[in-house]
C-alpha cells in the first residue's frame, strides 16, 4: 500500500514494527546500496533503508556526489539563511536531554514585547529576513502570547517560522493568518519506548499527539512543515528511516506544502544525560546524503549545533538551509550571558563570517526568499 493511502500517519505507523525496520536496515547488501544510488532523487523507502545501512558506509563518497548534484540542480548554488530566536525558556515538560527541562534550576525568562523588539533589532542588523521563533511549553506561553508576538515578527521579517508545542488545527489556522509561514515539530524519536523514557512528564509525553501534529499543520494551510528526529535518543538509522517515511506520507497526502528535515545531534546542555546512541559526524553525513537521495526537493536544515568544520563541508552534501550567529537563550542577542540556554552552540561565527565562507565556497547566501504578499 502507498503510504499516502493511510488515513493518518499514526495508522500507518502502527502497522510497522520498528524491530523489522531495524532488521531491514541492518541486512541491506552492497548491491541494494548500489541500486539505491542509481535511483538518486527518486528512491523508494526500501532504497532509503539501504542508504542508511552499515552496507552504505563504504559508498558514502558516491552518495555525496549524487546528493551534491541533485541539490545544485534543484536549489542552485545557494544556501538559505535564517536565525532562531528563543522567546521563552519556561517549560513544564521534563525532557532528559533539554536545558529548559522543568527540573533544571535555571533562571526562567519570557520576553516582553519591548525585549522582543530589542532582539529583533539585534538580528536585523545582520541582514536576516527569515526568523525561527522558539519557545518551551508552559501555560505562560500559549496562543495568546503567540498571537501577540507573531504580528511583531511579521512586521520586521519576510518569513516567520515557529517551533513550539503541538497545537490544534484551528490554532495553526490562526497562526497562519497572523503571519506564520512555517511550523517545525520534530518527533524527537519514533521509538515509543525511548520516547517515554526521555519525555517523562508534561504534555510532551503524549507520543501520538506529537506524531499527528504535522497533519494538523498541513490542513491549516501552512506553507512549510519541518520534520525530523533528534539524533541520540534511539538507533539513528531507524529514527532517520521513520522521519523519511513521515516525509513521504506527508508529501503524498499534503502536496501543497513544502517540507524540511532537520537532524539535530544531542549536545551537552544543563542537566543532560549522555547520548544513549552516539551519532558520529560520518553517520550524520550519511543521513544527510540519504535524505537527499530519497527526495531531491526537501529542504535540509543545519544548525549551529554542528562544528564550523562540519558545516563548511555539509553545504556540499545536500544542506540547503543554515542558521548563523545563533543564541539559544531568550534575550541572548543582547547579552553575552549563556546560563539560560537550551543547548550549546558549536559554530560561534558571526552571520557575516558564515556568509563569507559560503561565498568563498561558490554559494550565494540568500537572506530573503519569501514575501508576505504571496501568502495573501
Amino acid at each position: 500500500m502507498k503510504p499516502g493511502s493511510y488515513k493518518s500517519f499514526s495508522e500507518l505507523f502502527q502497522t510497522l514494527d520498528p524491530a523489522e525496520v531495524s532488521k531491514q536496515v541492518l541486512s541491506a547488501s552492497s548491491a541494494d546500496v548500489k541500486a539505491a544510488i542509481s535511483k538518486a532523487g527518486h528512491c523508494s523507502l526500501e532504497d532509503f533503508a539501504a542508504l542508511l545501512s552499515p552496507a552504505a558506509e563504504p559508498f558514502l563518497e558516491e552518495m555525496a556526489v549524487q546528493a551534491n548534484r541533485l541539490t545544485r540542480k534543484r536549489f542552485g548554488k545557494t544556501i538559505q539563511m535564517f536565525v532562531p530566536m528563543y522567546l521563552s525558556n519556561e517549560c513544564q515538560n521534563i525532557c532528559t536531554y533539554c536545558g529548559f527541562s522543568l527540573g533544571n534550576k535555571i533562571p526562567r525568562l519570557t520576553l516582553s514585547k519591548a525585549q522582543f523588539l530589542k532582539e529583533i533589532e539585534a538580528v536585523k542588523k545582520w541582514g536576516f529576513e527569515h526568523i525561527l521563533l522558539v519557545t518551551g511549553e508552559s501555560h505562560l506561553v500559549g496562543m495568546d502570547y503567540f498571537l501577540e508576538m507573531i504580528p511583531i515578527a511579521r512586521e520586521h521579517f519576510a518569513h516567520v517560522s515557529i517551533e513550539v508545542q503541538p497545537l490544534e488545527e484551528e490554532d495553526y489556522l490562526k497562526l497562519h493568518q497572523a503571519g506564520v509561514e512555517s511550523v517545525l515539530v520534530y518527533q524527537e524519536t519514533y521509538n515509543e519506548e525511548s520516547y517515554a523514557q526521555h519525555h517523562t512528564k508534561g504534555k510532551k509525553s503524549k507520543f501520538y499527539n506529537r506524531l499527528e501534529t504535522p497533519e494538523k499543520i498541513a490542513r491549516a494551510g501552512i506553507n512549510k512543515i519541518g520534520l525530523g528526529s533528534l539524533l541520540g535518543l534511539a538507533d539513528w538509522r531507524v529514527d532517520a528511516w521513520f522521519a523519511g517515511l513521515h516525509l513521504v506520507y506527508m508529501r503524498e497526502k499534503y502536496w501543497r506544502s513544502r517540507y524540511s528535515l532537520a537532524f539535530p545531534r544531542l549536545q551537552p546542555a544543563e542537566g543532560i544525560v549522555d547520548p544513549a546512541v552516539v551519532t558520529t559526524e560520518r553517520n550524520l553525513a550519511q543521513i544527510i546524503c540519504a535524505y537527499r537521495l530519497l527526495d531531491e526537493t526537501v529542504d535540509l536544515s543545519l544548525s549551529t549545533r554542528e562544528s564550523k568544520r562540519f558545516r563548511d563541508h555539509a553545504i556540499q552534501l545536500g544542506v540547503t538551509t543554515m542558521s548563523a550567529g545563533s543564541r539559544t537563550d531568550p534575550g541572548g542577542y543582547q547579552t553575552s550571558k549563556t546560563e539560560l540556554e537550551q543547548f550549546e552552540i558549536s559554530d560561534e561565527r558571526t552571520p557575516a563570517e558564515v556568509a563569507k565562507m559560503l561565498t568563498c565556497a561558490g554559494l550565494e547566501p540568500v537572506w530573503k526568499d519569501w514575501d508576505q504578499v504571496i501568502s495573501g
Binding site: 536549489f75 542552485g76 548554488k77 514575501d371 504578499v373
Partner: protein
C-alpha cells in the same frame, strides 16, 4: 525581431536569475547571453531597501526585467504579488507562475487562467507559465495574455523538450508568441525549440548551475542563434520522398 506587447527583442533567449552563486556571476552571465529580458522572483527582492542587490546587478541598459510570482499557490496570491512587483519595479510586465505542487512545481492551469484574466484587465502584460496544453494556450490567448510559456519538461530537470508533440501543436495554433520555458538543459535543446518554431526560450538552471555559468550563457546564445538562423535558412524536410522501384503511377503514361 520578436515583438511582445510594446517591446521588441533581437535576442530570443530569456534568462532566469535564481540559482547563481553570486549576483556578480549572474550579471556576467546575463551580459554574455545577450538576453534582453530576465526574470526576477518578487520573493527574492528586498523591497524595503533602496538598492536591492539583485535589481542593482540587473541594471543593464539593454535588459528589461520580468518579475515573476513564484511562490504563489493560487490566483489571489499571484495577483497580489503582481501588483506589488509592478509598484516596486515600475513595470506592468509579469511572468505569471502559480504552482501549488511543491515538488515538481507544475503550474495550476485553472488558477493561472483566472489570474491571467484578472491581470490583463488590470493592465498587465501577462506571460503565463503553463503546462504544454494547446487548449489552455488558446484560452489564455482569448483572455488577452501577450504570450504563452509552455514547459519543455519539469522546471530545473534539464530533460529537454519532453513535451515536443504538444509544443508543435501550440506553435502551429498560437496567435501570440510561444516561449518555451523550463526543462531546457542544453544549448541543443534551445536550438531545437527555435528550429521547431518557438519564438524564444527561457533558461535558468542549465546556465546557473553549470561549472562555468558565463561560458554556458555564451553557448546558449549561440544555440539560440543557430536555431533561429536554421529556421530562416529553411530546414530540409525530414524523411524521404519515396521512389518506388516499380512506379505505381507509371501506367498512366504508358501505352
Amino acid at each position: 525581431m520578436l515583438q511582445i506587447a510594446d517591446k521588441t527583442f533581437s535576442s530570443r533567449l530569456f534568462l532566469g536569475t535564481g540559482k547563481f552563486s553570486s549576483p556578480e556571476i549572474m550579471k556576467e552571465a546575463v551580459k554574455e547571453s545577450g538576453s534582453e529580458l530576465v526574470t526576477l522572483a518578487l520573493k527574492r527582492m528586498r523591497l524595503a531597501e533602496e538598492h536591492d542587490p539583485l535589481v542593482k546587478n540587473l541594471d543593464i541598459p539593454s535588459v528589461s526585467l520580468l518579475p515573476n510570482t513564484s511562490g504563489a499557490k493560487d490566483a489571489k496570491e499571484a495577483v497580489l504579488a503582481a501588483e506589488l512587483a509592478r509598484e516596486a519595479l515600475q513595470t506592468n510586465w509579469i511572468k505569471l507562475e502559480i504552482h501549488p505542487d511543491q515538488r515538481y512545481l507544475l503550474p495550476d492551469p485553472i488558477e493561472t487562467l483566472g489570474a491571467a484574466e484578472t491581470l490583463v484587465k488590470k493592465g498587465f502584460v501577462v506571460l503565463p507559465y503553463i503546462n504544454a496544453d494547446p487548449v489552455l494556450c488558446k484560452r489564455l490567448e482569448e483572455v488577452g495574455t501577450q504570450a504563452v510559456m509552455p514547459l519543455g519538461a519539469p522546471i530545473g530537470s534539464n530533460q529537454g523538450l519532453q513535451t515536443k508533440a504538444m509544443l508543435e501543436i501550440i506553435i502551429e495554433q498560437s496567435a501570440v508568441p510561444v516561449i518555451v520555458d523550463a526543462g531546457i538543459g542544453a544549448p541543443s535543446d534551445a536550438a531545437s525549440a527555435l528550429e521547431m518554431g518557438a519564438d524564444a526560450v527561457l533558461v535558468n538552471t542549465a546556465i546557473a548551475v553549470a561549472k562555468d555559468p558565463v561560458a554556458m550563457a555564451k553557448a546558449f546564445r549561440l544555440g539560440v542563434e543557430a536555431g533561429i538562423q536554421a529556421r530562416k535558412a529553411g530546414l530540409g524536410q525530414k524523411g524521404l520522398l519515396a521512389e518506388s522501384s516499380s512506379p505505381l503511377t507509371s501506367f498512366l503514361s504508358e501505352g
